[in-house]
């Protein structure tokens, strides 16, 4: 029978680093290259912080819309891929149906605890910002039946459309490796912000405002044009 210790890799008992190093007479060692342990710890914390913030910055697209033309435009927000999905009430919904509105596209699942926390916020945010041209669209990335998803949405008091997700749609949005994941789409169909995992309500509201306030591009997005 195995024990929990079996999970740990066991170092080979018959060789140690000392065994493999050539035996040389001891030489005077400089005092750790003149660096104190405090300096090492500070350097380590700084590097860890840079990696952490760099990683999270890379995961969030720029919230500003790039200037028209040139390289700045290339660095601007990407177009939100259009899709066609069935809603819980049996309607066929295209993302482009919401052109002209700022959209919060929320990928979620019934088995996702953090998603449950966001849903009451979303209900309130839909009420609060809906009149400004804001629409939340939920996409259930769930293996559960349509009835189960509908039951869950009803229990949560969801007041926005819930679509039955497909893996292919998730792939279009980067694979959606974990839930919840929300994309904030401007009125002209561009992703201006993205939040992975559960964040604070204020952060979500900031992203909604970015989507609402993003200046519309004079060139209509191809995903929107496709539906015209």
């Amino acid at each position: 029978m195995s024990t929990p210790e079996d999970f740990s890799p066991v170092a080979s008992p018959d060789s140690t680093p000392e065994d493999t190093l050539p035996q040389t007479p001891p030489t005077p060692q400089p005092p750790a290259s003149g660096r104190s342990p405090v300096a090492l710890i500070v350097a380590a914390v700084v590097i860890a912080g840079m990696l952490y913030f760099g990683f999270h910055a890379a995961r969030r697209p720029s919230a500003t819309v790039g200037a028209a033309g040139g390289q700045a435009a290339l660095k601007g927000p990407k177009l939100a891929p259009d899709f066609t999905l069935e809603s819980l009430d049996g309607q066929t919904i295209h993302l482009s149906d919401y052109r002209g509105k700022a959209v919060l596209l929320n990928f979620w699942a019934t088995w996702c605890g953090p998603c449950k926390i966001e849903m009451p916020w979303f209900v309130e945010m839909q009420n609060q910002y809906g009149a400004q041209g804001f629409q939340i669209v939920g996409v259930a990335m769930d293996d559960s039946s349509k009835d189960d998803i509908a039951k869950f949405a009803k229990e949560m008091g969801v007041n926005y459309p819930v679509l039955l997700g497909k893996e292919a749609v998730g792939d279009e949005y980067g694979g959606v490796p974990a839930l919840p994941e929300s994309f904030f789409i401007s009125r002209d169909g561009k992703i201006v912000d993205k939040i992975m995992g559960l964040r604070g309500r204020a952060e979500i509201e900031d992203s909604i405002k970015k989507a609402l306030d993003a200046p519309a591009d004079s060139n209509e997005s191809p995903s929107m044009k496709a539906q015209n």
Binding site: R35, A178, L179
Partner: protein, 177 residues
């Protein structure tokens, strides 16, 4: 030698490795290999299957508190004539997470053991058999949840003859002459 003279390089490398590992972290449950289990025929042999949930993650127990949560479940595919008894799951821990402060979830974290009972029938030819199965689980951390996954599970069972019970020899009966 370079690292010995410049321990700060080693420290930075370790830090980089840790940071990169943290960035690429994903939910993982690992299975500890099981040594060959000797199972006599016509008897039940208990086998402990040890699992470990990676640090920072949790998975639902076999009996989560909500119908919408996905329970951890072990499914074994058994060779013919080797019967699997009850699969015993450990009780989960009731834990409140930042995303459910008012509602404790019943979860597994760290190490946990699922016990299966292997019961070879009398018809099984003694020898070595491989038992295969999958553990299905759904993991979360404090801020996000990951789609359900399956983890292959296997272990060897050496089926041996049952212990012979004392045989009555009619010739020794005092009533037979």
């Amino acid at each position: 030698m370079i690292l010995r003279k410049n321990p700060w390089i080693l420290a930075v490398l370790c830090l980089l490795g840790t940071a990169l590992a943290a960035q690429s972290k994903g939910p993982s449950v690992s299975f500890a290999p099981v040594g060959t289990v000797t199972a006599p025929r016509v008897a039940q042999t208990m086998v402990d299957l040890n699992f470990r949930v990676a640090s920072g993650f949790h998975i639902n127990s076999n009996t989560p508190k909500s119908e919408f949560l996905i329970p951890t479940n072990l499914k074994m595919d058994l060779p013919t004539d080797i019967v699997l008894g009850r699969i015993a799951y450990p009780p989960g821990q009731d834990v409140s997470f930042p995303f459910s402060p008012d509602e404790a979830l019943n979860v597994y974290t760290g190490d946990f053991t699922i016990t299966v009972a292997v019961h070879p029938l009398k018809s099984v030819v003694p020898g070595k058999y491989v038992m295969h199965g999958v553990l299905r689980y759904q993991a979360c951390d404090n801020a996000q949840c990951f789609p359900p996954k399956t983890l292959p599970v296997s272990f060897d069972v050496k089926v041996v003859r049952e212990k012979s019970s004392p045989q009555r020899n009619p010739a020794q009966s005092p009533h037979v002459h």
